[in-house]
């Protein structure tokens, strides 16, 4: 095996080991259907492995992994959007009728219900806002999200501020049961 191939393989193995769960969650943010999600995940891993032949260490491994994964998932959304519902910007999220249940948001809801609603909310967002909300939920700081998306840190901070406001409104004052 060539030296470059070995380095590509070992980088991929390291990334797959460290970010396996995160990549699965990311795929869930882009695809609800389990079967198609598996294909998407396979595609993400495949592109990730391929991309490591060009990895030049100019950004961290995490940034690289998320960048590639989001780009592959975005391409997936663009390919499939014709058969999907209309996607909206974060600012227009109030127009999602099915989720806008003000009564429920005032009550405490279970973790599984919360996760389901959160997934549904994410699925309806346009790719860029989806990338930001997923990165935020993964607990990344604004500068890391900025490196992945290409938006300025100030802009990310503003978006995150909006996201937290929206999430508070949607999942609301009642909070989440620890069950």
């Amino acid at each position: 095996m060539r030296k470059e191939d070995a380095s590509q393989d070992s980088l991929y193995e390291q990334a797959a080991e460290t970010y396996s769960s995160a990549l699965d969650r990311l795929a869930r943010a882009y695809e609800l259907d389990a079967e198609t999600r598996r294909d998407l995940l396979q595609e993400i891993h495949f592109h990730l492995w391929r991309s490591f032949s060009k990895f030049d260490q100019r950004c961290s491994l995490r940034t690289w992994v998320y960048r590639v994964a989001h780009n592959v998932a975005t391409a997936h959304v663009i390919r499939r959007r014709r058969i999907r519902e209309r996607l909206v910007n974060l600012e227009d999220v109030e127009t999602i009728e099915n989720l806008a249940d003000s009564h429920q948001s005032e009550l405490a809801i279970s973790r599984s219900q919360t996760l389901r609603r959160l997934s549904m909310l994410i699925q309806r967002l346009k790719p860029l806002d989806r990338q930001i909300i997923v990165s935020y939920l993964e607990g990344m700081p604004a500068n890391a999200i900025s490196e992945i998306t290409g938006l300025s840190p100030a802009n990310i901070a503003m978006k995150i501020h909006r996201i937290t406001k929206i999430l508070k409104r949607w999942f609301g004052e009642g909070g989440v049961h620890a069950q």
Partner: protein
Amino acid sequence: MPSEFPTNDLQDIWQNQPTEVFKMSADKLRRKAQQLDRKARLAVVFSAAIAILLFLYFGWGFLSFPEKFQTFGLGPFGAWSMRLGFGVLSLWGLFSGYQTYKVLWPGPAASDADLRTTLQSYRQQLEKRCDYSQNIWLRSGLILCFLGIAMVVMPVLVRDILTPLQLLADLGPIFGLLILWLAIFIPLRKRRQRKLQVEIDQLRAFESEYHV
């Protein structure tokens, strides 16, 4: 008890959701890459074969025209128009084969999901689609195809213009299909293009507004 800071809860719920373990060895991925490349090359060879068949079929029409079509009752102008039409269609066969090669042949561009930030990548994907949709007549060689068809059909149209029933029998099916195709294709293309353009404009405005 409900928590006091729900968004932290949400991060916790998101990060601790059940996930599946997905594992693929690097060797398996390498084999998959080789398989995909082989498949893509096969698809190109298949399309090239179809393009060559089209080229040969219409080219044969062009070359053998005098013997074959003299009995059609076309004047010399009509005969030449039809003959050149076959020639144009033959060139279209080659052009469409080349375009397929450009799109399908696996090269370094196959993995274009890296290096760029996701914003750039997203906008470029939309722009690529929009550009193709805007220039579809050129990109897919539809101009050549329609020019060829028009040159082939025109002499028959001129010949049959005074005998409507004959005209209907000769060209009705072709025009029927053409009208149906145009009625579906044009509005669909316009709608898709409009949507893409709106989204690209939104992204550009967003980038310039926030100096991304």
